[in-house]
Amino acid sequence: MQTANLLIVLLILSAVAYYMARGRSVAQAQPLGGIRHLHSLPFFYGMRAAIWCALPSLLLLAAWLLFDEPIISSLLIGGLPENLQPNSAAEHNLLLNSIENIASGALSAETSAPALVAAAESLRDLRSSGTNLVTAAVLSLSVLGMGWGWVKVSPILRARQQVERVFRGILLSCACVAIFTTLGILLSVLFESFRFFQAVPATEFLIGTEWSPQMAIRSDQVGSSGSFGAIPLFVGTLLISFIAMVVAVPVGLMSAIYLAEYASPRLRGIAKPTLEVLAGIPTVVYGFFAALTVAPFIRQTGEGFGLQVSSESALAAGLVMGVMIIPFISSLADDVINAVPQSLRDGSLGLGATRSETIKKVIFPAALPGIVGGVLLAVSRAIGETMIVVMAAGLAAKLTANPLDTVTTVTVQIVTLLVGDQEFDSPKTLAAFALGLMLFVVTLVLNFVALRVVKKYREQYD
């Protein structure tokens, strides 16, 4: 049975379980003199039965959906004759693919190896019998649960407590998704990076100044002549992020200050939402804007001054990224500035300071920790920003600090290495995960520090 149909059947079964258990509890309450003699409301008896009916079977179904493919494929490969056993993960995948194709009829059975045809046959068998088996197991489990829920109904059953415990458990597991996500990220990048560092020494990766992973596409070159020195990428990332911050920090900060301290309500009503529009624009749009409008404009202007400007200059990507980050900085700065107590403003104005003196000498120093935290968050955003640089920055890993030259970034390389045809074991693909690890660690540290700084700052004025 298809998963969707199975889910619908489960839903109906648990509804039935709910009404049966509920009815039974009401019937049991009748001779005692009404439902107030039950331990819990009939609703909870019903819910308890429904949970027993649905939860275990759903868990079983989820486990099957997650692990059916690995189980079936390991059975398949295990069943193959000795000479066909795969040697590497890539071969493994290739083999599975061809079996899959034979089974679906995309590859003709006549031209394929008989062992594979047999495997395709058993794949089909395994699939259908597996599905049937699981459907039967799921359904019988849910009927059993329904029965259990019905049988246990009695006036002294602590149904409410049990239902609420399950309810709480579900809530807790939802909250834990965040932890599992972090774990998943860590495991996936760590595992693949580990394999990368087996092929390429970590020192070469961290302090090498030559980046040309494409060289390593042939297996005889692995790690030896393909070079994986990531310094040019780090420098490129920092250069573009720096340009972005040079644009975003002053503009974002000054506009936040102006809107908070000077602007008339009318201007604030127009300017604030308009600036926030910038935050809602997808990064791919910024990328398009950077590549097709800003970069040619900078090139032309530069050439007007007789400068050599690359058509994929770091300046174009950095400028547009800066524009993207303006609202981010300005809204953070706005929060931080508003958290500075009014009494400090009064104190300064009462001494005869002008508004700008009050801002520069009292509010800004008082808000500084919060602003620094906000800027750190913005830096982490700039470092992790992908689409703008993919579209507007180049691929050439040059070690330069010239904003008019082309540079590449960590994120650009991750995308380039992973989009398109991949071979899973080549250092070229694994390098993307090593870069991902670097990116994750750096942004994590930045975020962690920034969030702590901002939190400390907030507590100071609460």
Binding site: P265, P341, S343, L344, R345, D346, G347, S348, L349, G350, L351, G352, A353, T354, E357, K361, V362, P365, A366
Partner: protein, 291 residues
């Protein structure tokens, strides 16, 4: 002490005769402030002052003078407008967008609200101490030096040091902090913080110091110190203090003004206000029937 004026342009009731009453929302107000609101010679004078917050009027036709080197206390139940009134004396209300002040307010005869009067220069002459101690998150030294630096009052470091020392000494804080001038002002105790704020205010040698409930956030011992300080300062400065504590008003002030729901009901010598209030509202407040 300043001489009270008995015959002035504004009609003044005399003696204990009940003046003409005005009945607003069931409360009997005198048509004019009773007692002696006006002085013969004054440091500041306020005439027909109305203050509005948007459409809401907070202060109604207040007439009062503040004499040279006098301490005047403003008392009244909370929400009576005494803080609003004191904040309009040095144009702190300018920072509140919807706030509008009308009437004539003068400092040494100069109109405070004229276009010629610069609010920045005005606030340097009329300093203010606030309800909650609000030292800047800077060192003690920088807190006191803030005003002089702003206004360019010291050309050399030594001069600035001197100003800081005298101000802290006058504020009675020097002995306590002279060894830790570079530590943050926010690290001091509440009472010390408030004295630091007073030192900060007197560092620019204002002519008038306005105090908006300066002791409401302090414990009794710190309050006593501030009160002593006010008595000392009154030899050199003109002080207007808003307080919700009648005892404090009685202890520190020469004259006391009683505000009720935005109206100035009675101004008299402090002793008289507390022993023989002329108006029934004042009496009701003094005897604790509301407040």
């Amino acid at each position: 002490m300043n001489k009270m004026v008995t015959d002035i342009a504004v009609e003044m009731p005399t003696g204990l005769v009940q003046p003409e009453q005005e009945n607003i929302d069931g409360i009997e107000y005198p048509k004019q402030t009773i007692g002696t609101p006006l002085l013969e010679s004054s440091k500041m004078s306020m005439r027909n002052v109305d203050v509005f917050y948007g459409d809401k009027q907070a202060i109604f036709n207040v007439n009062v003078d503040i004499g040279q080197h006098e301490v005047i206390a403003m008392i009244g139940p909370s929400g009576c407008g005494k803080s609003t009134f004191i904040r309009s004396i040095n144009r702190m209300n300018d920072t509140v967008e919807s706030c509008k002040v009308t009437g004539q307010l003068t400092l040494d005869g100069e109109d405070i609200y004229s276009t010629k009067m610069d609010p920045v220069a005005l606030r340097a002459r009329v300093g203010m101490v606030f309800q909650k101690p609000n030292p800047f998150p800077k060192s003690i030294y920088d807190n006191v030096a803030y005003g002089p630096r702003l206004h360019g009052l010291a050309s050399r470091r030594a001069e600035l040091d001197e100003i800081v020392e005298t101000s802290l000494t006058r504020a009675g804080l020097w002995a306590e902090v002279k060894d830790r001038l570079d530590q943050p002002g926010t690290g001091l105790s509440g009472g010390q913080q408030q004295r630091l704020c007073i030192a900060r205010a007197i560092a620019i040698s204002p002519e008038v110091i306005l105090m908006d409930e300066p002791c409401s956030a302090l414990d009794p011992i710190a309050t006593a110190k501030i009160e002593e300080l006010i008595a000392e300062l009154s030899q050199n400065y003109t002080i207007a203090i808003v307080t919700h504590s009648m005892q404090q008003a009685a202890r520190v002030s020469h004259r006391t003004a009683y505000f009720h729901l935005g109206r100035l009901v009675e101004v008299n010598e402090t002793e008289k206000v507390f022993t023989a209030p002329e108006h029934q509202l004042t009496e009701a407040y003094i005897t604790g029937r509301f407040g």
